[in-house]
């Protein structure tokens, strides 16, 4: 059977991609579009390393079929920085030293970004809950939570961007 051509708008740019029905969105974005920021950790929806926004909703793209995303808007970690400027969430991760090996970080940042759009002033407990689907082997999470809370504060002060 020939591949199917689907349309994906990734970080504002529209692509036509030929995919097999059993390819995941993660595989397609990484291998066909060359956007390798999103990571594959578990491949089964448990670790969050592959988190991206699909039509504005945070999903684990390792268990989404690419054909299911046909015609959708996708935002990946590569889409957060604007004009060479890190997004406040990314900046806070850097400043708070929330990153060790970095493998979980694209997913963490996407989940934090998603939370702060819905809830600009979260409590620590809300941050922990929002990141429950994102595993980190290195940091022990404390600095990640601090970074998210710091980003929230900065975004409120700056009158919220993105």
């Amino acid at each position: 059977m020939p591949k199917r051509v689907i349309t994906l708008t990734v970080n504002g740019e529209t692509h036509e991609v030929a995919v097999e029905p059993w390819w995941t969105l993660l595989y397609t974005v990484r291998e066909e579009l060359g956007l390798t920021g999103s990571k594959e950790g578990c491949g089964t929806g448990d670790c969050g390393a592959c988190s991206m926004l699909l039509d504005g909703r945070l999903v684990t793209s390792c268990i989404v079929l690419a054909v299911e995303a046909d015609g959708c808007q996708v935002t990946t970690i590569e889409g957060l920085a604007q004009g060479g400027q890190l997004h406040p969430v990314q900046q806070a991760f850097v400043e708070k030293g929330a990153v060790q090996c970095g493998y979980c970080i694209p997913g963490m940042v996407m989940a934090a970004y998603d939370l702060l759009r819905r809830q600009p002033d979260p409590t620590l407990e809300e941050v922990r809950l929002a990141l429950a689907g994102n595993l980190c082997r290195c940091t022990g999470y404390t600095k990640i939570y601090e970074a998210v809370l710091a980003a929230a504060e900065r975004m409120r002060l700056e009158g919220a961007r993105g």
Binding site: L65, V67, A132
Partner: protein, 294 residues
């Protein structure tokens, strides 16, 4: 994943036509949080599908409406995030909001559908006890037409349902709650999030007009039998009674007897049975208290 074909119909009729035309070996795909993982891991109980039929774009599976007499229509294709945040669900069917709000992570809840949770037929499915306690009916549409089934009759065993090839669960119907009623769902898990219920308990209670006796009691248990179950003898023991601590404790003890748990990696049969007693008693008390406050 091994190869399969994929169809993306835009209406229920079109979906049913595809199953009819393509024949055996098809599988509906909703959020994919069970199915895609099973296809990747090979842990599924059915033969590897030849084709998948996506339910994502079927408007018929996205019904959501409230009616004073008929109650709630809840499309099978609604996501856990949509169900858990819906005001009708939160106010009138809180047990269901509790259950939907526990399914995995934010990511999982954005993908997982309530229909998929029920059709996957895990004994531990977190929306199953709430839907049972709230007396949901399931609308099933297929090549032979349509039927409405009490949810209790939907499951046959772990991973097994009454659905035949080409049949789809389209929506749930939940009767309106009685006055002075309340419902809730809790599960026991070692971790707060991203875990599977060792035991799940849902209760729904309604008090009579004077608030002195229990007019209606529904108790549903998850992860303690091959399918989610109602604890009917426990319900009957409490209905018509004053909600005294003794009567509640007796009902909880009967619910324990009705559970048929097994031992597995998540917990022993003895632990599960113990939890059924403790949780049922606590949930009944809390639900009765809430029903009193109105």
């Amino acid at each position: 994943m091994r190869p399969f074909a994929h169809f993306a119909p835009r209406s229920l009729d079109e979906a049913l036509d595809i199953f009819r035309r393509e024949g055996e070996g098809g599988r509906p795909l909703a959020g994919g949080t069970d199915l895609v993982v099973q296809l990747k891991e090979g842990g599924h109980k059915f033969p590897y599908p030849r084709y998948l039929v996506s339910l994502r774009r079927l408007p018929e599976l996205r019904a959501l409406g409230w009616h004073e007499e008929q109650g709630l229509r809840l499309g099978a294709g609604l996501t856990m995030a949509e169900v858990a945040s819906n005001d009708w669900v939160r106010q009138r069917y809180p047990a269901l909001a509790d259950g939907a709000g526990l399914v995995g992570s934010r990511q999982t809840m954005n993908m997982a559908t309530v229909g998929g949770n029920v059709c996957n037929a895990a004994p531990s499915a977190d929306t199953a006890p709430p839907l049972l306690a709230l007396e949901a009916q399931a609308r099933i549409v297929g090549p032979q037409g349509e039927r409405l089934l009490p949810l209790e009759e939907f499951w046959l065993g772990p991973g097994e349902t009454v659905l035949r090839h080409g049949e789809l669960l389209t929506e749930f119907l939940l009767p309106p709650p009685l006055p002075r009623s309340a419902s809730l769902y809790r599960r026991h898990t070692p971790r707060q999030q991203m875990d599977i219920a060792v035991v799940g308990v849902a209760v729904a209670v309604a008090l009579d007009d004077g608030g002195r006796t229990l007019k209606k009691v529904r108790i549903a248990l998850g992860a303690v039998a091959p399918t989610p179950i109602r604890a009917r003898r426990a319900e009957a023991a409490l209905e018509g009674q004053a909600p005294s601590p003794e009567a509640i404790a007796r009902a909880a003890a009967i619910a324990q007897e009705e559970a048929r748990p097994i031992s597995d990696v998540r917990g022993s049969a003895a632990l599960r049975r113990h939890l059924v007693g403790v949780m049922t008693e606590r949930l009944l008390r809390e639900a009765i208290e809430r029903a009193r406050r109105g």
